[in-house]
């Protein structure tokens, strides 16, 4: 083996090891299987070898991006969390993963990216704060457009927009999916027996962000909290497999209050402020130039548009010419 496999993931927050569902799935699976991965948490997707997150750079310098591909790769490396599953249980895993992809994923996209208040207050803010300047101005918007496009394709509706009816429909599907998962889980600790499998990783990856994020429109979270066994399941995995992130969250809650923390943050903020003020000044100058330019262009256009009724010049002028 050459260099150890490296896993690139989105940074964590809200007491989660990562904010992205796909990253969480991979992280959880790697933990369950005990795969020794060199973890790289980043908030710059272009730093990853594939340009998106999560990404696994294997020992053979290959790059994998789809969670399913990464899990298959880890399985081939003998890090198999599904080793103890019977064939029927394997089939059930596949079925429930499909169920989540069809019913839960659209609602998650909607809740985090499309619902306007959630997007502006939480998602965009988080990505804008964590991405480096100046990309934090463009990337969240780009990611949102990609997610909207994805939701449109999933639903087969080219003109889909955020709205009450869509929200109701998506959340109804998602709530039903959670109910079904809750019924399947019952009072067990994990979906199949006493040790977690890939299905547990998928369920955790999809539900933990719902449970831990603080979205203004939190209908999904409210529903999830009524399902005690499912929310307990997520907390349990966090506690058992990601103990450090869970503690981070509780310490973060108290950390920002003392002034020392603010002092520590002072330097990068200063630079950012400098950048911002320069940008604002530049923007103002540019827009002024553009504005005056526009005005002059409009004048030209208006002049061109006046279809003046042509008329003859008065007599005198021509006579002068004739005489001369």
């Amino acid at each position: 083996m050459a260099a150890p496999a490296e896993l690139f993931c989105w940074e964590g927050d809200w007491g989660l090891p990562s904010v992205s569902t796909d990253c969480l799935v991979v992280l959880a699976y790697a933990q369950f299987a005990g795969a020794p991965l060199k973890l790289r948490r980043t908030s710059s997707p272009w730093r990853s070898p594939s340009g998106c997150l999560p990404a696994l750079r294997t020992e053979q310098r290959e790059t994998l991006s789809r969670p399913a591909d990464i899990i298959i790769h880890l399985r081939k490396q003998k890090y198999n969390a599904d080793f103890d599953l019977s064939a029927k249980e394997g089939a059930d895993s596949l079925a429930f993963i499909s169920l989540m992809e069809e019913k839960l994923v659209p609602a998650l996209i909607y809740a985090f990216w499309i619902e306007p208040k959630n997007y502006v207050d939480v998602t965009r803010r988080w990505y804008a704060e964590h991405m480096p300047f100046p990309l934090n101005f463009f990337m969240p918007g780009r990611m949102q457009r990609q997610q909207l496009e994805k939701l449109r394709l999933l639903r087969g509706d080219e003109t889909l927009e955020a709205g009450d009816e869509l929200e109701k429909e998506l959340f109804r599907d998602a709530a039903e999916c959670m109910n079904l998962l809750s019924q399947r889980l019952g009072s067990h600790k994990f979906f199949f027996g006493d040790s977690p499998s890939s299905l547990d990783a998928y369920v955790f990856g999809h539900l933990a962000p719902v449970l831990k994020s603080r979205l203004p429109n939190s209908k999904l979270q409210q529903h999830l909290k009524t399902l005690d066994n499912l929310s307990g399941f997520c907390c349990n995995i966090l506690l058992l497999y990601f103990p450090r992130d869970g503690r981070d969250a509780s310490s973060q809650k108290t950390a920002p209050q003392p002034d020392g923390g603010a002092d520590f943050d002072h330097v990068p903020h200063k630079r950012r402020k400098q950048f911002l003020s320069a940008l604002v000044a530049l923007g103002a100058m540019l827009s002024y130039a553009l504005l005056t330019g526009m005005v002059s262009i409009q004048h030209v256009q208006q002049g061109a548009l006046e279809d003046e009724p042509a008329h003859l010049q008065p007599l005198g002028e021509h006579e002068d010419e004739g005489d001369g």
């Binding site: 061109a304 009724p309 042509a310 008329h311 010049q313 005198g316 004739g322």
Partner: protein, 471 residues
């Protein structure tokens, strides 16, 4: 010793305006008086137009203009020269490529100058290579921004290229057209169009998106103007809402229409919006399916209007419209091809296009229709603003009638006529008409609909209408 006669001054009825007039108002008077005797002499004398100059040409090709000014050479005396020059000037302006045309007539000079020779000089100012426009429009439940781009005289022979792009809150549309007249015969021209138009028709719960190309040839024959056209349209129909009736749902989807059409118009009216005299005959026929496409039908319709001035500036106007749509082959006609009737621009007192065959509240249109109207237009009572603003308004009394239905072709023409004659819808009322330029008009009417059939949607009482074509 040069003589210059200001043609525009004497013949052009347009009031002069602009900065030039203000600055040189004194100059007009003084030399005019001085030259009277000479002018007197020249008027009686035979003259020869020796040269015609056109100054100020940039991209315009000269050969195009020689057709327009050829008549000037035929003038025999000074009055003739003035009249023909004026006509030539009007022709040049009509080409739509000049901003300004001025005519200067001078005695010939040079070696070969005849004693009674004249030189005519047209001083023209070309339009800019490209002009732009910007509008915002607000329609029912929709706002849109319209950007227009016009390239007059693209190739130097009065060809015109226009591009329009409208970006709406719901729909975007665009159109690109190219127009080319035959040099010397401006009425004979070719137009090519490429467009995409989206329309929403709430009375049918229908949304239609058309993408098409068309080629059009126009030419005058005797007193008529004839138009031949081929059009290929890709039409996409869809339901406007989930609640659309099943009949409309069945029409959803894509179709291709390729049609040949012919239109003939005789228009002797003095104005197209509020005419005082003259008549209009318009016949239009369209044959679809023979040049490809999914839709095949024959569509005929006509429009007649007669106007007569009566006592006290009042005008009596009578119009008759009619149309017939015959499907060819097995396929029934499409909802997009059928006729619609009703509303403030046709049979007043009914809601827009809300009469005739319908399904669950969605109007499906008919394959045959007729509509007639009689109007008595009078000036406003007591004639306020006479000679100015008040002339834009008229009061009118109207009587409209018509019918719209589907035909069963097994029954024969007798049955058809009977069907169109029974269940007659009609309405009467009075209102005020406002003329908007020479293209559109607004109406505010009090209507009393009669002969209403079950399923029709009426608009009893006050009804507002705006449009270009009126019954």
């Amino acid at each position: 010793n040069g003589t210059v006669i200001p043609i525009g001054q004497s013949l052009d009825p347009l009031p002069m305006h602009g900065p030039e007039l203000g600055l040189q108002a004194d100059d007009i008077e003084a030399p005019g008086i001085e030259q009277d005797p000479k002018q007197e002499v020249l008027e009686n004398k035979n003259v020869v137009v020796q040269r015609v100059h056109i100054d100020g040409l940039g991209r315009t090709k000269e050969d195009l203009l020689t057709y327009e000014i050829a008549e000037v050479f035929r003038a025999k005396n000074l009055i003739d020269v003035m009249r023909k020059s004026h006509e030539a000037r009007q022709k040049l302006l009509r080409l739509g490529i000049f901003r300004k045309v001025e005519v200067v007539i001078d005695t010939s000079r040079g070696e070969d100058a005849l004693p009674n020779g004249l030189d005519v000089t047209f001083e023209v100012t070309e339009l800019r290579r490209m002009t732009g426009s910007y509008n915002t429009m607000v329609g029912n439940n929709e706002g849109s921004m319209v950007l227009g781009l016009k390239l007059p005289n693209v190739l130097g022979r009065a060809e015109k290229m226009t591009f329009q792009f409208s970006y709406g809150t719901k729909e975007t549309s665009y159109g690109l057209s190219f127009f080319k007249p035959q040099p010397g015969h401006f009425e004979r021209n070719i137009t090519l169009n490429v467009y995409k138009v989206t329309g929403q028709f709430p009375w049918s719960s229908l949304r239609e998106t058309d993408r098409g190309i068309s080629a059009e040839l126009s030419f005058p024959v005797w007193k008529t103007s004839q138009t031949l056209k081929w059009e290929g349209v890709w039409r996409e129909l869809g339901c406007l809402a989930r609640t659309a009736s099943f009949a409309v749902r069945e029409e959803s989807g894509h179709s291709l229409k390729s049609s040949l059409s012919h239109a003939m118009v005789i228009d002797t009216r003095n104005s197209s919006i509020l005419p005082r005299r003259g008549g209009l005959l318009k016949i239009h026929q369209e044959l679809a399916g023979y040049t490809g496409g999914d839709a095949s039908f024959l569509k005929e319709d006509f429009e007649i209007q007669l106007n007569k001035t009566l006592f006290w500036d009042s005008v009596l106007s009578a119009s008759l419209w009619g149309g017939l749509l015959l499907p060819i082959g097995e396929k029934p006609t499409s909802i997009a091809d059928r006729f619609y009737l009703g509303g403030p621009t046709s049979i007043r007192g009914f809601s827009m296009y809300s009469m005739g065959p319908q399904s669950e509240g969605d109007y499906l249109g008919g394959e045959a229709y007729w509509a007639g109207g009689v109007h008595l237009y009078t000036p406003l009572p007591f004639r306020p603003g006479r000679g100015g603003f008040g002339d834009l308004f008229r009061t009118h009394f109207f009587l409209n009638a018509g019918n719209l239905c589907n035909l069963n072709y097994g029954e024969g023409p007798q049955a058809h006529l009977k069907k169109l004659a029974e269940c007659l819808r009609w309405s009467y009322g009075l209102g005020i008409v406002l003329r908007l330029g020479n293209i559109a008009r607004l109406e505010l009417n009090y209507c009393i609909p009669m002969g209403v059939q079950s399923g029709d949607r009426i608009c009893d009482g006050v009804q507002f209408g705006a449009g270009i074509r009126f019954l």
